[in-house]
Symmetry: C2
Subunit: 256 residues, 2 copies
């Protein structure tokens, strides 16, 4: 019997430590294809390359079991999934895992996340898909406490699947000791979007995005930001589809 | 009394003809700030620049009334909205308009669209926002038949607003004669994602995304693809939030 095929990607790029933690877990569960960006792609959402061509590079497997295959793509996380499906994978994957992201994808980060962009891309073509993120940006972050949770969730999704149109956004707290797992919704939140202004050597200004995430409902006990702040891992159900048929009558009353 | 402030952006870049059709409509409705990417950003979704700085350029207004201000940004459509809100606009805008996009944002194009990425960015911070697209990629496309519809919809949204968390995705058929306007949902659809393979002069392959959009429910009479195919303009209500609290119990039964 064929082993399950597991597609792995991320948005921090093929060199980021988090993806290799994920691959070491996945190689115990099935045959693995890593197809990841060749460069950091944080904040790339569901962006895809329409105006530029893509290259694919096969990397030597020196660190894994023989059932792991490693490719990088000169594009976005979504490009990786599309190219993997069409030009790289030997068959349709049974599971898609993404991450482990170096940084939070909780609250309103979801819509900007390249990690979740890749997860939603897989979800939209019917592949059970899970994104994993650690709320710690360091490339030297300690992922050890995330491993048993990732194993449990990945095995469950591999064996039971996910309903059509549904994928998962899993976040781990920055602290090493994880208290437990909560299935919750995303907190309503926003970023205080300040741009730091700099002056270049020729006297012209340039701007760099900064700011911090504000939980708009800190009292709500059923959100990811609430539980991550209390050192729990969180699982948020995500539906990529942004159309809202329930609002058709309301919109008719405005523009009809 | 202050005139309404209208923020305009797009994803085809400041030089694309479509944005100037939109600006000529908007300058009749209020004071206009165009803040658009300096280069084409099609397919950029809700991507934002986190690893690179941004520059802003003010452009001379030679083609419009005095109440039009023109800026370009070296980033994505979402970057344009964030920078406009934080560093460019004199006050909070009353309306955000995006486009007119050169190409369709109907069906599943929504999630990849840079045009709709900017619209959703404005929506998430509470600004009534509408994206306009013409199903024609040519830079020489004839937008004349779209003008009365854009005037009507923009005026209605400016005077009545939109419910919190809701924005609009308006598409026009490629044919010049528009039969009417339908408020509908997005058609379930996907792209046949083929990558054309090329060989570069040194013998190495590269790939370029191609393919066509497939309507998965061509019999459904309440979708954008159905009515666009019959030369109607379509308005689709869009909600940026992709979290799905209704699925929490289901996910608990899988991973809990």
């Amino acid at each position: 019997m064929e082993k399950p095929l597991i597609l792995i990607s991320n948005d921090d790029g093929i060199a980021a430590p988090g993806i290799h933690v994920l691959a070491r877990i996945a190689q115990q569960l099935g045959d693995v294809f890593i197809v990841a960006p060749d460069s950091p792609q944080s904040g790339m959402s569901s962006a895809m390359s329409v105006n530029t061509p893509l290259r694919v590079k096969r990397h030597e497997n020196t660190d894994y079991n023989d059932n792991v295959n490693i490719f990088s793509v000169t594009g976005t996380p979504v490009d990786c999934i599309k190219l993997a499906m069409n030009n790289i994978l030997p068959r349709r994957p049974d599971l898609m895992l993404c991450g482990i992201n170096h940084g939070s994808n909780a609250g309103n980060n979801l819509i900007y996340s390249g990690t979740m962009g890749a997860v939603m891309e897989a979800c939209m073509i019917g592949i059970p898909a899970v994104g994993y993120s650690l709320m710690h940006h360091s490339m030297a972050a300690d992922f050890s406490q995330t491993v048993p949770y990732i194993e449990k969730i990945s095995k469950a999704v591999l064996s039971k699947g996910l309903p059509s149109g549904l994928c998962l956004n899993v976040n781990f707290p920055a602290k090493v000791a994880v208290e437990g797992l909560k299935v919750v919704r995303s907190a309503k939140s926003h970023w205080t979007e300040e741009y730091r202004e700099y002056i270049d050597p020729t006297g012209r200004p340039f701007y760099w995005l900064t700011g911090k995430q504000i939980d708009e409902e800190p009292e709500a006990t059923d959100t990811d930001l609430y539980w991550l702040g209390r050192n729990y891992a969180t699982v948020v159900p995500v539906t990529p589809d942004q159309t809202n048929p329930a609002a058709i009558q309301t919109v008719l009353s405005i523009v009809g």
